[in-house]
């Protein structure tokens, strides 16, 4: 018996709709995140991640409905990230049916927010999004600093925080999992920033999900084998039908990585 490496498709959701649409299988409504979630569930995804990129305040309530409808059909864990700023945001997402919430800016602005959230809801549902970019030059601050800096707002805002230190700090405060995204690689299909993933994975005690840059099935293997990640997350390779979840799992399996290949629910 071995804990399996998790494969997590991620859906970007804006105003309750999948951004760019999902082009796999025979979806009646390619823009409906719930239909996409059901398709991924049936295909054997180990977990699902919704990233809410709704900009307007009014549109933000749409994610609760998406999560609630997903929970009616999908009996696998669901993580929701994007715009989670208050204890009340977390409470509403969990009550809608999310199992975990991913927190980014609020953790950067107020690290104690993570401690309060973990105290209230348990470490197991608090994921911190570590969005990192390689520094252009070694910033002042001594030799202990890593090569990466934390960014917020989808990689637009630099914070000056060291990514590896930030990750350790978040775990100390109660994060139960880290979602590590290379903002340099995100959307490039050139593979994970393996050095970044590994630097963080090897320095924290909690599971790390590697994210950002997957373009091939070998990239998934690298994230686990070389990045030491507990789970790998990808978006476009699945949405655009480049690869299916079973193909990805088979490839991981063929490369000696233990994955779950159960039959679908009766």
């Amino acid at each position: 018996m071995t804990l399996k490496t998790r494969l997590i498709p991620c859906l970007d959701v804006k105003d309750g709709r999948v951004v760019k649409g999902v082009q796999f299988v025979d979806l009646i409504d390619a823009g409906d995140p719930v239909e996409a979630a059901i398709a991924y569930d049936t295909a054997g995804a180990d977990e699902l991640c919704f990233l809410d990129i709704t900009a307007s305040h009014e549109g933000r309530d749409t994610i609760f409905d998406v999560v609630a409808r997903t929970a009616e059909h999908c009996f696998m864990p669901v993580t929701v990230g994007g715009g989670v700023r208050t204890i009340e945001d977390i409470r509403k997402l969990l009550l809608s049916g999310a199992d975990k919430v991913a927190i980014n800016s609020a953790a950067v602005n107020d690290p104690d927010f993570i401690a309060r959230a973990a105290d209230k809801f348990g470490n197991q549902c608090i994921v911190v999004s570590v969005d990192a970019k390689q520094r252009l030059s070694q910033a002042p601050g001594g030799d202990n600093r890593s090569e990466w800096e934390i960014f917020t707002h989808g990689g637009r805002n630099a914070t000056g925080l060291d990514a590896v230190e930030f990750a350790a700090n978040m775990v100390k405060r109660g994060a139960g999992e880290l979602l590590v995204t290379s903002m340099d690689r995100d959307g490039t299909k050139s593979g994970f920033d393996l050095k970044l993933v590994r630097a963080i994975t090897d320095s924290v005690s909690v599971p790390v999900v590697a994210s950002g840059g997957v373009g091939t099935l070998d990239h998934l293997v690298e994230g686990v084998r070389d990045g030491h990640a507990s789970a790998v997350l990808a978006a476009s390779i699945f949405h655009f039908g480049t690869f299916t979840i079973p193909q990805a799992k088979q490839h991981l399996h063929d490369n000696g990585i233990a994955v779950r290949m159960d039959r679908a629910a009766p």
């Binding site: 018996m1 071995t2 804990l3 399996k4 490496t5 998790r6 569930d41 180990d46 609630a68 929970a71 009616e72 059909h73 009996f75 696998m76 864990p77 969990l94 009550l95 809608s96 049916g97 999310a98 199992d99 809801f121 348990g122 470490n123 197991q124 549902c125 139960g176 999992e177 005690s205 909690v206 599971p207 790390v208 507990s230 789970a231 779950r260 159960d262 039959r263 679908a264 629910a265 009766p266």
Partner: protein
Amino acid sequence: MSRVAIIDYGSGNLRSAAKAFERQAAMLDQPPEIIVTADPDIVRGANRIVLPGVGAFADCRAGLDKVAGMVDVLAERVLNYGVPFLGICVGMQLLATEGREKTVTSGLGWIPGSVVPLAPVDPGLKIPHMGWNTLQIRQSHPLLAGVPDGENGLHAYFVHSYHLQTDSPETLIATTNYGGTVTAAVGRDNIFGTQFHPEKSQALGLTLISNFLVWTP
């Protein structure tokens, strides 16, 4: 109509659990009603009782105690009347004599044992034990009927940093492995508990829920 009560004592999201039970209930000839409730009187009238739970042991115990009369009704129905009972995650851990998470807290004491930290021999293994793992069934049990175990068996979804170490091997129904043996399911008589989340465990979990809905201990 027969009723299944899922106890709501402020511990996390019960929507997924309710939906999973409703889905499996609908497959029965006479579907029971699934009720999420914080009302001890409804629990008293239920034919089956489910106690979920996420977070810390002490917080869950405090939350359960805060619902006036709930612990008494549970003891009355489960221990005296033999109503089928399913504890999930911390709802299962609460069956123990005591929890040793942060502080020592009394459990319900229905399954003698203690809730202790996971201590994988390989220090590289991450805590929490989070994700999908297979089971080793130690004693066949009606709730695990149709659940293949072992390396090629079905997977259950776990998220936990502590587990229930039973005092007696007789109450240990299933285990998993994470740098050592980890308790996955406990039980005796009409009482059953899973460390994993059936409501998040797809095929394995839904099979277990179906089994629970027709279980006559």
